[in-house]
Assembly symmetry: C2
Homo-oligomer: 332 residues x 2
């Protein structure tokens, strides 16, 4: 795996290339022949989307913005390709959490002046690959000189059904998550030498850390099922996400289990972020067969139920009750 | 005027406040009661706009993203209020250049950990003030820890008439600009001690530099007139903007005059950026009376005409022809 440092003294630097040429080269990569995009990356002052041609069911427009940067977001050993991938992925995860269909993204890049053009090429390739994987277009952006690599994505999408909010979980609802948690955190522990695991687990953990796969398809299935009462993505750890969902909805949570990944200690699954799974609640009045049908459609598990706010957020193990602390990843 | 350094050791720092509290305080400032905004700043994973309630004529959605940051964009002496203002203004200018109506903006902020909360308060006040001045809403954002203050805005707007592109200038069209140029550059020269001017000129020059007023209203009037064939904003200097418009449209330009501001040397008006005026072309077949009517509606001047690409870009002064060089502000 290549590191940022490996690019510092090889080949041409962006400064030699010049801004106009850099923009031209990058914009070329993001050309689209979608007729709804009248102006895309590099074409004009703004991107133009012809909504009549966008061919989306589009009562609602959802928009989100998220920044990733070297000093705070990128673990040692991440490749520029994966940095670019992550910038798109974290934004897609926020669209997924609304149950909407992502449509396009804009990426503002900050690049240090002595960065090798090869580094930028791979960064762009990562952006391109993630966008293509999720069938969205890169329709604009910005390039500035910065002290460290920093990428701010702004993603938008459409939906015709009311987007799923954080505020509608009700006492008696079930609590679910997609996939398993703590894999990205395990990846970090492996890198720091604090954890040793089987080779395939190590591979999966590092992939979760370096190249997250946001749950876009799952978000849409959950929203369209009509069974989901609230939803959000788990970017800063399950504990903080539960706290936020509880605060927004005015409820508490009783968990029966923590959906930790393979060989993942429970602590990591609860209090570390970076997995980009979805946390959601399901209307408690729904029948068992409906729930089973939903479970067959996507990788999810039911981990507890919604309780009154005054009960708090805790894990129940037989008669034992264990509080879940309010901690996880915070920037400040 | 307060400087960034003045905030370094006064009062609480954002690190003490914590991310959740910081987001809460900032989001509160951006609350809107517009019924079309189902979720705004701080409310959910993404912002939600109900397009049916947005009450905009909206065949076209235009979107743009632009970053401003301390090391590359902010001149010495700029206040945090003006940094926030600028982050919104530069994005509005790109929407103005399409002739669209701006609707809302998202702001991703990078803040060093030891920043005083008072600094952030004023930054936010500047964002708020510019957004309010142009009647747009701040509907989302992101906060991360960064090495220097950096603000990435993503602004979007709507229009029902085809947005004005850069690519449709035709030989025989007239060339126009709004306002006057070089005022921001003059402000820089005053700050560095290279220029001395009358007090009122100094005040205006510094305001142009620190708190630009994007030409949103003018962009809409120009687009709706149906007379404008191409348009873009002049952010990196008139010379670079002419070159870009010429490249996009496959034309050249003959200028009769440079619309320099009060006491502004021609060099500054041509080759320095930061004014955020609009450059546009007007259908050459339009009559004089139509042109006069347009001129009465907004602060603009006709500065030349569109010529074949092979003629180049030049200033004509009687029989003298002076080439306009391809230089201006570039990041790399």
């Amino acid at each position: 795996m290549m590191r940022l440092d490996d690019y510092s003294d090889k080949g041409k630097e962006v400064e030699e290339l010049g801004e106009l040429e850099l923009i031209k080269q990058i914009s070329r990569r993001f050309k689209t022949d979608n007729p709804a995009i009248l102006a895309g990356a590099g074409d004009d002052d703004s991107a133009i989307i012809d909504l009549d041609l966008a061919n989306q069911t589009r009562r609602y427009l959802v928009v989100t913005t998220d920044t990733v940067q070297k000093s705070t977001h990128f673990p040692d050993g991440i490749s520029p390709f994966q940095m670019g991938w992550s910038a798109v992925a974290v934004n897609l995860s926020d669209i997924a959490a609304m149950g909407a269909r992502p449509f396009a993204i804009l990426i503002a890049m900050g690049i240090p002046e002595h960065t090798a053009t090869r580094f930028v090429d791979e960064l762009v390739a990562g952006i391109e690959a993630c966008a293509a994987s999720y069938d969205i277009m890169v329709i604009g952006g910005d390039i500035t000189k910065s002290l460290e690599p920093v990428l701010t994505g702004t993603c938008f999408g459409f939906t015709s059904i009311v987007p799923v909010r954080r505020s509608n979980a009700r006492v008696g609802d079930l609590v679910g998550v997609t996939g398993t948690l703590g894999n990205a955190a395990l990846g970090l522990k492996i890198l720091s030498g604090e954890a040793q695991v089987a080779e395939d687990v190590e591979h999966a953990a590092k992939l979760a850390l370096f190249q997250p796969m946001p749950r876009v398809k799952e978000g849409i299935i959950l929203a369209e099922s009509g069974m989901v009462t609230s939803m959000m993505d788990i970017s800063d750890g399950l504990a903080l996400s539960l706290a936020e969902l509880g605060r927004s909805s005015g409820v508490g949570f009783e968990l029966y289990k923590i959906p930790a990944g393979n060989e993942v200690p429970r602590e990591l699954a609860l209090y570390y972020g970076g997995d980009y799974e979805l946390l959601f609640t399901i209307d408690g009045a729904r029948g068992k067969s409906e729930l089973e049908e939903l479970s067959e459609e996507l990788d999810m598990s039911i981990i507890g139920r919604v309780v009154p706010a005054k009960a708090g957020i805790y894990l129940k193990n037989g008669a034992k009750r264990e509080e879940i602390a309010l901690k996880g990843y915070q920037h400040f």
